[in-house]
């Protein structure tokens, strides 16, 4: 007995002490990983899987790429898909052209040193972001309504009465109107991000610029704006992902068929209509999953392109 103890003691003393397994890393990560997998990863996997099956006579059969073939080959499906994609791209374009410059402009104005009531302006501009999409859609539908709304009267008062049209009911204007409403609602977050980025510019840099004689707009364009590009990049990619996933505003304002005549149909509403059905159309989970897969791939592709080509090249200044 004591022999074995002595025998075992010496080899153990000769080997270096083994590092204990660091269980605490797994334990601390576990809740987040489990929750994220259960809520995001597993449903995503299940959806991607559904896209490869087909329902034939109430039975689910493996269909390989047949559903994708239908989406791109069949005239009607193809039309709706490309229509939704183009509408979505236009929707995103409105956000980029209007929201980002406006956010930068408002942030620049708000960060002026002696602006009175800046806290009030900040709150007022940020308020729409806190509203639910349902309320925003409902209120704007009412404001723009040709029957009950204040828009015709306001435009008349400004002498622009001839510009009024039932925007949400006309194919040419509906998507633009909804894009503008969405920009109005979403402006808050980019503005706050830009504002914080501007506040983070150290005073020494501004002072040095002023010593060199660069003030006002030139200072903004040459000093502040280049320091903002990383934030603009973040805002762009977040807006892209949010727009291509968006659904609420169009659904509450225009209904599930994204009228008039599918002119406001975006990928989100197309997915909802296909997957869950609408009015008298039965839901088709398989074609719906195909659309969801395409949305996933499109967003993934663009984000990867952005990260590889743009994000890496953005110059970040460290102070």
């Amino acid at each position: 007995m004591s022999n074995t103890a002595v025998m075992s003691a010496s080899p153990a003393a000769a080997r270096p002490a083994r590092r204990p397994v660091r269980w605490h890393i797994a334990v601390f990560l576990a809740p987040a990983v489990l929750v994220y997998s259960a809520i995001m990863v597993l449903p995503l996997g299940a959806t991607l899987r559904l896209a490869f099956f087909k329902s034939v006579d109430l039975q689910t059969r493996y269909a390989a790429l047949a559903n994708f073939h239908t989406l791109f080959g069949d005239e009607r499906w193809s039309y709706h898909f490309w229509n939704a994609l183009l509408n979505n791209a236009y929707f995103f374009l409105i956000h980029m052209v209007l929201m980002v410059p406006l956010a930068i402009l408002l942030a620049a104005l708000l960060s002026l040193p002696h602006l009175r009531g800046s806290a009030l302006y900040r709150t007022a501009i940020f308020m729409p972001t806190m509203l639910s999409f349902v309320i925003v859609a409902f209120v704007w539908r009412l404001i723009l309504s040709p029957i009950w709304g204040i828009t015709p009267d306001l435009l008349d008062a400004l002498g622009l009465g001839s510009l009024f049209a039932p925007y949400l009911g006309k194919e040419e204007y509906a998507l633009t109107a909804l894009g503008l409403i969405s920009v109005w609602k979403e402006l808050g977050v980019p503005m706050i991000l830009m504002y914080s980025a501007m506040l983070a510019i150290p005073h020494e840099v501004i002072e040095a610029a002023e010593v060199d004689g660069i003030v006002g707009v030139r200072q903004f364009l040459k000093i502040k704006l280049p320091l903002l590009w990383p934030t603009v990049g973040v805002v762009t990619i977040l807006t892209f992902v949010s727009n291509f996933n968006s659904f609420d505003l169009i659904y509450t304002a225009q209904g599930v068929s994204a009228g008039p005549n599918y002119s406001t149909d975006i990928l989100g509403t197309l997915l909802y209509r296909t997957f869950f059905g609408a009015q008298f159309q039965s839901g088709d989970p398989h074609m719906g999953s195909v659309i969801a897969t395409m949305m996933f791939l499109i967003i993934l592709a663009v984000v990867c392109v952005y990260l590889y080509f743009i994000q890496r090249r953005l110059v970040r200044y460290q102070f």
């Binding site: 109430l58 009607r76 539908r141 723009l144 309504s145 040709p146 029957i147 009950w148 049209a165 039932p166 925007y167 949400l168 009911g169 006309k170 194919e171 225009q254 209904g255 599930v256 068929s257 009228g259 008039p260 005549n261 599918y262 869950f276 059905g277 609408a278 009015q279 008298f280 159309q281 039965s282 839901g283 088709d284």
Partner: protein, 417 residues
Amino acid sequence: MKKNLAFAVIATLLAGIGAARAAPVVLTIESWRNDDLSIWRDKIIPAFEKAHPNIKVRFAPTAPAEYNAVINSKLDAGTAGDLIACRPFDVPLRHFEKKQILSVNDIKGMDNFTATAKTAWSTDDGKTTFCVPVAAVIHGFMYNKDAFAKLGITPPTTVDQFFAVLDKIKKDGKYVPLDIGTKDAWEASQLAYQNIAPAYYKGEAGRKALIAGSAKLTDAQFVEPMRTIARWKPYLVDGYQAQTYPDSQNIFTLGRAAIYPAGSWEIAGFAKQARFKIGAFPPPVVKAGDKCYINDHPDIGLGVNARTKNLAQAKLFLEFVASPQFATLYTNAVPGFFSLQKTVVNVQDPLAREYAGWRANCDSTPRLTHQIVSRGTPNLEDDLWIKAAGVMNGTITPPAAMGQLQKGLDSWYKPAK
């Protein structure tokens, strides 16, 4: 301390079990008739609960535009209520084929209904019925009697007279001649096109021909009504493209419009809200002396969820629905919904009685697109919504619209030759 706690827990458990056993069964009814909520709660359900004290019934409606999608999801997920309000024809047929609703052949009182009444809720061979028919609705035009009296107009009977009346109202300028919007799209299909079209395609003759494949939507009898509703444009509210269904209802009940294309389901709500007398006239005929046709559509049935936990109680409620007592109660509590039972019900509401009176002179036909031709993708009814709204907006011509509809139908519908 621990003993007291133990006693407390056991006592609560026993009380709970006792309460559970004595708790009444609660049946939930899914429906799209959110406008009828108070009627069900105050008149219909108490009548049933008086006869069955152990059963409580809850009427839980969803917004009409969302109902189909919502009930499809709920039935697929197994979270639907015990009793399901059935749309007519193909939608519940699909649910029955997926075994989500049960057959009601064994409900006592099913022979109170005619075979025609049951067609909307039976399988194609007619052998199995899966929803108890509740009510039909009739489509027509309601008008503001005060406005007509003030302008010296009588209800029109022919299409030419109809447009003459509209012209007169428009010239006067005080009232909106015709109150219908296109934003929600379904009114363009059901209150506009399918309201007046039976007069052109001669009711059941045209509808059955379309289903049989011997008539096409591009035929003149189907294109003409589209041309007629395209002529409605100048008589609508300025900005009607953004006018929703509640907007249309409100414009009429506020007294701002003269004529409102209306289904009889509006009667109950309008009686409460309008401060003026409402009259009604059937869809105008093409030529004077033609036979008139009305869109008399079996609208609501009630089926039972296959996954209900309260099957016996649900069947008791369905027996109540199939009883003559329910027929009288429903037709008079919800005026505008006409019972489909064989028992003749004395309709008390004068406007409802006027609508029902058209059945005597005019041939009835259900809506054109609901039987068989909306089973596939794209289904004809949804397509018709978009195209009819487009015609009324002026963004598509009637022949082009009907051509696209027929093309969509042909892509999946092969009528049995």
